[in-house]
Amino acid sequence: MSEVQGAPAGGVADTGRAPAGGSAGRRLNASLVLGGAIVAAVVVLALLSYVWTPYAPMRVLPVEPYQTPNAEHWLGTDRLRRDVLTQILVGARTTLFVGVVAVGVAAVVGVPLGILAAMSPGWLGQLVMRGNDVLLAFPALLLAIMFAALYGGSTRVAMIAIGIATIPAFARITRSGALGVMRTEYVVAARAAGRSPLGIAVRHVLPNVAGLVIVQASVSFAIAILAEAALAYLGLGTPTGQASWGRMLYEAQTTLRSAPHLALIPGAAIALSVLGFNLFGDGLRDWLDPRLEGR
């Protein structure tokens, strides 16, 4: 009989739904593949820039400015006679740096807070979540503006600000995931067996919320890239002399009509990488969907 009982509404045929992915679930989807490819491409560009760039990074060259793509300069040269391809390559580092710092700060603080909140039902959990709510009241850009005023405009400072503003997102998603895990029988059993809370957190909770966190990280990564561009536009982001796609875009706007490629190239790079991370996140979510259902 146990066989017959089965899982309620588990079978595809039983629910009348099309077998998209099927109950096997973990099938690679287009978003995941495409997003993963773009993300990988950004990483490859960044790594490549450490071993090879067409010209010295950010160097003003004795050449004509505003060149359109040609054999010498594959993506042309900018107003300050710098090679655009070189900047795009080195800029990929900044893009990754931006995301890693912002997501890193948010995840390193947010995930433990979320787990703490989930595992401490009493005042501690309440306090964490209320603090979270207060932090949530400071939008990312506001924090970034305030931080830039405090510590000066730099990529790192801006991204730490974005990261701090993103903490609540990670704390929330971790908490909700962790709450689910805490209700599972094996965690209840582990607690009954007297396992230490830390042990439970590391052994059971963390691995189970990892998927959620990775999806959130991917989405936050994309948001951080956009935020960097916006801050560069406000003059609060990456300073001159450092390659950044946002900065390139900002610098190109005064010649948007006379040299549109200088805006289009970094603009496309930003849009593509944001798209890549978003797709990757979406794809990952779909891929993990069987576990995420009901959250």
Binding site: M1, S2, E3, V4, Q5, G6, A7, P8, A9, G10, G11, V12, A13, D14, T15, G16, R17, A18, P19, A20, G22, S23, A24
Partner: protein, 350 residues
Amino acid sequence: MSDTAGRTVLAVEGLDVGAGHTPLLHDVSFSIARGERVGLIGESGSGKSLTALAVMGLLGEGLHARGDVRLSGRTPATRNLLEVGEAEMARLRGDAVSMVFQEPMTALNPTMRVGAQVAEVMRIHGTRDRAGARARAVELLDQVGLPDVAHLARSYPHELSGGQRQRVVLAIALANDPALLICDEPTTALDVTVQATVLDLVVRGVQERDAAMLFITHDLAVVATVCERVLVMYGGRVVEAGPVEQVFADPRHRYTQGLIGASDLTGEQGRRQRAALPTIPGTVPAAGRFPSGCVFRSRCAHETAECATQPGWTPRGAGRVEGPGRAPGGDTQDEGAAGYACFHPAGDAA
């Protein structure tokens, strides 16, 4: 059709359902007469619910059905429901045919008062005006045995227990006095204590309306109490059909035999010991992964080379049919269309 057509409410013939190139239902045929209660049993993934949804025209996107489904409710069955289009189907659903689903906890709109949800089905089909529908809704809620209905009608689903919610669903299903009621495991999700009450309400509701009922379940005991006739499905096919007593007492198909062996129809006494019961070995394959020929052969102890071909329909009591036979087809219109599709039927002197 046959002489019984006058009393036939639902006639399904050669129903095929597939998703893309994956076949999910094969050649399903059966009929239900007015006042008749037919059980549809089988494991999860055997195609029971899919059959019901195909009849309701509620197949999910990406699923397509072929075959012939006819319903004679208020109007005679002149058209194949698979071809009439959404607008016409919508007119039939909730009116001539209605359905009770398995999961009462989620079957009701959480943001709408239950009375309104009951009344809505009458408003949709224009059977009553606004006030009339509201009054009738309260009446119906009362009929399905809910307490303090005036107050309860103004409640939201989350304020009700599972059993109460399923009663509401039943009230919705019965509101327009359907000719056919489809119940998809209506009591599976309920506490054992309320199962019997709800079942009773279902049967009473159907009987009062002299309606036909298709009752999907995997609980053979329920079928035994509720239904007169039973269809056994496996792998998207009807593998055996017949009067309940006959099929249960003397199952022919090896799958039916396994099912009955795995359950215990001796009642509560037996249920407690179900861990000791024999089970059908193996698991139900994923959709589209059933073997060719006899769909059950991958789990059947009696499999022979012959089983690689599709067994034909053998009317009960008739001799063994050789070779890939025709599906029961119109024969099932006949009340006596009891039979099975197996080369090595149980109870035969094999």
